[in-house]
């Protein structure tokens, strides 16, 4: 990672629109625009906002039984049973059940051919692609020719409907192929903010036109990775390298719901024994939400203590929550700590009381059958 950061295709467009650009995961990325992180954050919660996340990995893998079987060593889903036009949140697991990466995997047809379309973290491209290519030698990385945008917030559907055909019955985590200016685009109803929204994979040559069309709506705005982080934290969503890494299992991370329970019995799945043991014995570090009891900010890496001054855990992500007007954090504590007992966080050499808060901090606003669910 000592190479110079790579420019995303629309870097100049973002700069011309006032973006502050900083390196992130090997890419020069918009962190925020002129009005600042808090304003972008609130605009997404109240209206909508547009994120360029073209640094993310995107790959197409042919829906071929032998490829799927090899991938099932790493991915805790029944890949042969994935429903067409649906997305799933999942992982690549190592031999100990630790998370090599978290990803979104979808079953879609493009030009009459069936594929798994996988979106994965920019910071994990090397590790992930080694696995993808070892399982499916002709896997096709598409992130060099396709930008990835996310439009997020309750108004997203109205902004997008004017530009792209979206069926009314599209649910959260549905995915489909649509057209924009004669380009094939992949549209999924998904996101990383806790709000309703869409992700759009669009060929580079049409990407600037699409984002310009979206921005014609006066209630939407460009948003950077800064507000993306505060939004996902309020929504209690995990970030690779913080809540997730190779030494943390999905169960410890509170993501048991994303594991296919039948696969946990399958010896072909990496770490299946570790995972099923954790499930039985319930002896593992627990992911918790924390909220500061005063105005101090909780930050990644701070240490947590019980009232006998024993170290009981660590914060993995922390920021100011624009919705709660307080600092919030996600962290891990040891299984033996009774969560009814007080927790203290060391902030600049002082111990300050913090309160446990159920995740998410802000209710999710996803859509199913036309109504909202959490």
């Amino acid at each position: 990672m000592n190479q110079l950061p790579i420019d995303i295709p629309l870097k100049n467009f973002h700069q011309n629109n006032g973006a502050k650009i900083l390196p992130f995961a090997g890419f020069n990325m918009p962190i925020n625009y002129k009005t600042g992180i808090i304003n972008e954050h609130k605009n997404v919660r109240n209206h909508s906002g547009i994120f360029d996340v073209s640094h993310m990995g995107q790959i197409l893998i042919e829906n071929n039984e032998s490829y799927l079987h090899k991938l099932e060593k790493y991915i805790p889903l029944q890949l042969k049973k994935l429903i067409k036009n649906r997305s799933h949140y999942s992982f690549l697991l190592n031999k100990d059940g630790g998370v090599i990466d978290d990803l979104i995997i979808s079953n879609i047809d493009i030009k009459d051919k069936s594929y798994l379309y996988i979106v994965y973290n920019a910071s994990r491209k090397k590790e992930d692609e080694e696995i993808f290519v070892s399982c499916a030698p002709n896997a096709e990385k598409i992130y060099n020719k396709n930008c990835l945008f996310a439009i997020q917030g309750p108004d997203s559907i109205n902004v997008l409907k004017n530009i792209i055909d979206i069926p009314n019955n599209m649910n959260f985590f549905d995915i489909l192929i649509s057209k924009y200016n004669n380009n094939v685009i992949i549209v999924s109803r998904s996101g990383y903010t806790g709000e309703d929204g869409f992700e759009l994979s669009i060929p580079n040559e049409s990407a600037e036109n699409l984002i310009t069309d979206l921005l014609k709506n006066k209630n939407t705005m460009l948003c950077g990775l800064g507000s993306r982080d505060s939004l996902r934290l309020e929504a209690g969503l995990s970030l690779y390298g913080h809540e997730l890494n190779e030494n943390i299992t999905p169960i410890e991370a509170g993501l048991l719901w994303a594991l296919d329970k039948e696969r946990l019995e399958d010896k072909h799945l990496n770490g299946n024994k570790v995972l099923s043991d954790q499930l039985k014995n319930k002896l593992y570090n627990k992911k918790i939400g924390l909220i500061s009891s005063n105005k101090s900010m909780l930050r990644d890496g701070m240490t947590l203590f019980d009232n006998n001054n024993n170290q009981i855990g660590k914060i993995t992500s922390g920021c100011f929550s624009p919705n709660l007007n307080k600092s919030i954090a996600i962290g891990y504590i040891k299984s033996e700590h009774n969560i009814d007992n007080p927790i203290f966080c060391e902030i600049r050499k002082k111990l300050e009381l913090v309160k446990i808060n159920n995740l998410p901090f802000v209710k999710k606003n996803y859509k199913k059958n036309g109504s909202t669910y959490e």
Binding site: I31, I37, S296, M297, R299, S327
Partner: protein, 123 residues
């Protein structure tokens, strides 16, 4: 009031009757982004130049503020306790952070002038 001077840590200092007023530069507030909290220094503390004396927190990160010169903290801007965003709105006036009685005015003379600070930022 004397000419405003700047430190390499992006603080500004102005002096009147041996009392220095200190804040962060407009450049510093721009690069920090939305400021959400400030831990003000304690009045009565004697500090030395380069001591970390308080902390400004933006949405994303915490930044230390250093004493620009030796002296004693005699007043803090309590308005910032309720609304740290004043620093974003007016970093070099209403967003002042603390005042100190200074011991050695040569230390002040050694700081950068506005023009020198501009050149420093362009480097």
């Amino acid at each position: 009031m004397s000419e405003k001077k700047y430190t390499k840590d992006h603080e500004w200092v102005s002096i009147e009757n041996k009392i220095a007023t200190i804040g962060i530069s407009n450049h510093a507030q721009e690069s920090l982004g939305d400021i959400v909290f400030i831990e003000l220094p304690s009045v009565g503390n004697s500090v030395k130049a380069k001591d970390e004396i308080c902390v400004v927190e933006s949405v994303k990160a915490a930044s230390d503020i250093y004493a620009p010169i030796d002296g004693e903290i005699i007043e803090v801007n309590n308005n910032l306790e309720n609304d740290a965003a004043i620093i974003n709105q007016d970093a070099e006036n209403e967003g002042w952070i603390f005042k100190m009685k200074i011991y050695d005015s040569n230390q002040y003379s050694d700081l950068m002038s506005q023009d020198e600070y501009k050149q420093f930022l362009e480097q």
